[in-house]
């Protein structure tokens, strides 16, 4: 009788010890996963995601827990934890980089049943965190992919420089631009002949530019591609949004247009002034 009792006590203590060992091992395995994620970073997260996409990990983990709990409560004969083959299969697919997953059961330690229950609760609580991690894993490759896309776009932009330069040169003389330049030339001649004696030559020019701003909407809008240079690629890589870059380039382009108009205006004014002086000096 005593021997039977002692045997029962022994088996129950072994089962408790084994249960505790199993919980401890699970805890360590979860930590190792976090550790590996921290060390390896996204690459590991992508591989885990690929593994996760092939089969549902969390439900399986949940089943494993249930199975192990049932096994530990039933106090069956000592045998390798069913979690181990699961873990090895699990590890082969997604946690291959985690040696602890494949590893042997943890050595038992003296823990109270209360502590083991708390461990169970902790492990169960950790599951949602694992799910959150998987969400992060799914999110971060997306973010990383977006970063990769932006880098790829940036490199494509930098590599596509020569043909787009030619396109921008040819697009420089659209209808509105030609209209502006001709308007500036005509106004300069008019101002030299009739207006310059009364006021500054820049006042009519400013009025003309204001008129151009209003007239621009009546002309067909040519979609001018952003001049893709190393500068724009560098700005993209530095994190400045493409929209901001586009707007800045658009503003810079508009300022360039105004400057071109001013140059043509002033040049025509001086040229007409010199011609008039020459003609005036020639005439008796």
């Amino acid at each position: 009788m005593e021997s039977a009792e002692t045997a029962e006590e022994k088996t129950s203590s072994i089962s408790v010890a084994q249960r505790r060992a199993e919980i401890r091992r699970r805890k360590l395995l979860m930590n190792s996963e976090d550790r590996m994620n921290r060390i390896v970073g996204y690459a590991k997260n992508e591989s885990e995601n690929n593994g996760a996409s092939r089969r549902p990990t969390e439900p399986r983990f949940h089943l494993d827990l249930d199975r192990t709990e049932q096994w530990s409560s039933s106090s069956s004969s000592p045998r390798p934890s069913p979690f181990l083959p699961e873990a090895s299969g699990y590890g082969s697919r997604s946690h291959s980089a985690t040696p602890e997953r494949r590893g042997s059961p943890l050595p038992g330690c003296n823990e109270s049943p209360v502590a083991s229950l708390e461990d169970d609760i902790g492990v169960l609580r950790q599951r949602p965190r694992g799910e959150r991690v998987s969400d992060d894993l799914s999110g971060s490759p997306r973010r990383g992919f977006q970063t990769y896309l932006s880098f790829d776009d940036a490199m494509k932009l930098a590599n596509n420089k020569p043909p787009q330069d030619e396109e921008s040169d040819s697009e420089e003389f659209d209808t509105f631009r030609v209209f502006r330049l001709i308007g500036s030339i005509l106004l300069a001649i008019f101002v030299r002949l009739f207006v310059c004696k009364y006021l500054s030559i820049f006042a009519p020019f400013l009025t003309l530019e204001l008129a151009y701003m209003g007239l621009s909407k009546y002309f067909p809008k040519v979609e001018k591609k952003t001049k893709t240079t190393v500068l724009t690629a560098a700005l993209l890589l530095s994190g400045i949004p493409a929209e901001v870059i586009n707007r800045s380039m658009d503003t810079y382009r508009r300022m360039g247009d105004v400057f071109s108009d001013l140059c043509f205006y002033f040049f025509t004014f001086i040229l007409s002034h010199e011609i008039l002086l020459f003609v005036g000096s020639e005439t008796p």
């Binding site: 040169d169 420089e172 003389f173 330049l181 310059c196 500054s200 030559i201 820049f202 400057f259 071109s260 140059c263 043509f264 002033f266 040049f267 001086i270 002034h273 010199e274």
Partner: protein, 170 residues
């Protein structure tokens, strides 16, 4: 104070520089052709490779394998030789282009510096002061002459006008 035709001299210089800039690729390729004398040899090699390829296409590989293989080896050898020659010619072309560009930019810089040096104190032309108000100081820089048009502003204006004009023409 201002030379009569200083504005025209500056305009002509800027026009010449911009014209030379557009003609630079043609000049460099012309000089390269003058220097390189083995262009005919390259043409001959290409013709020979073409002929050998024609001959090879007429031969059946199954029936005359030895002859086919011999021709193949000849073609490969000549192709390698041609590739080497093309590489050296391309490198020489690039070098010539680089040299021509460097010389041009040096000459252009020298011309611009000499013009600025000459007209540093004299405006290229003079107009009544009130015409160019309120930016008369900026326009007159660096001469300081009231109503004068300084060399720097005139250079900028001429450069822009000539470059856009040549772009429109070309």
């Amino acid at each position: 104070m201002a030379a009569g035709y200083a504005w025209f001299l500056v305009l002509a210089s800027v026009f010449l520089c911009n014209l030379m800039k557009t003609l630079l690729p043609s000049i460099s390729s012309f000089l390269t052709k003058m220097i390189q004398k083995d262009a005919e040899q390259e043409i001959e090699m290409r013709a020979e490779i073409q002929e050998m390829k024609k001959e090879q296409s007429s031969i059946s590989m199954m029936d005359e394998f030895a002859r086919y293989a011999r021709l193949e080896r000849k073609i490969n050898k000549m192709t390698d030789k041609l590739k080497t020659q093309v590489k050296s010619r391309t490198a020489q072309q690039a070098k010539m282009k680089w040299v021509v560009n460097i010389i041009f930019y040096i000459l252009q810089a020298a011309l611009m510096i000499s013009l600025i040096w000459k007209y540093y104190a004299d405006p290229v032309t003079v107009v009544p002061n009130r015409w160019i108000a309120p930016v008369e100081r900026l326009v007159a820089f660096p001469t300081g002459v009231a109503g004068g048009v300084g060399i720097t502003s005139w250079l900028v204006v001429c450069n822009k006008v000539v470059s856009l004009g040549l772009l429109a023409v070309s």
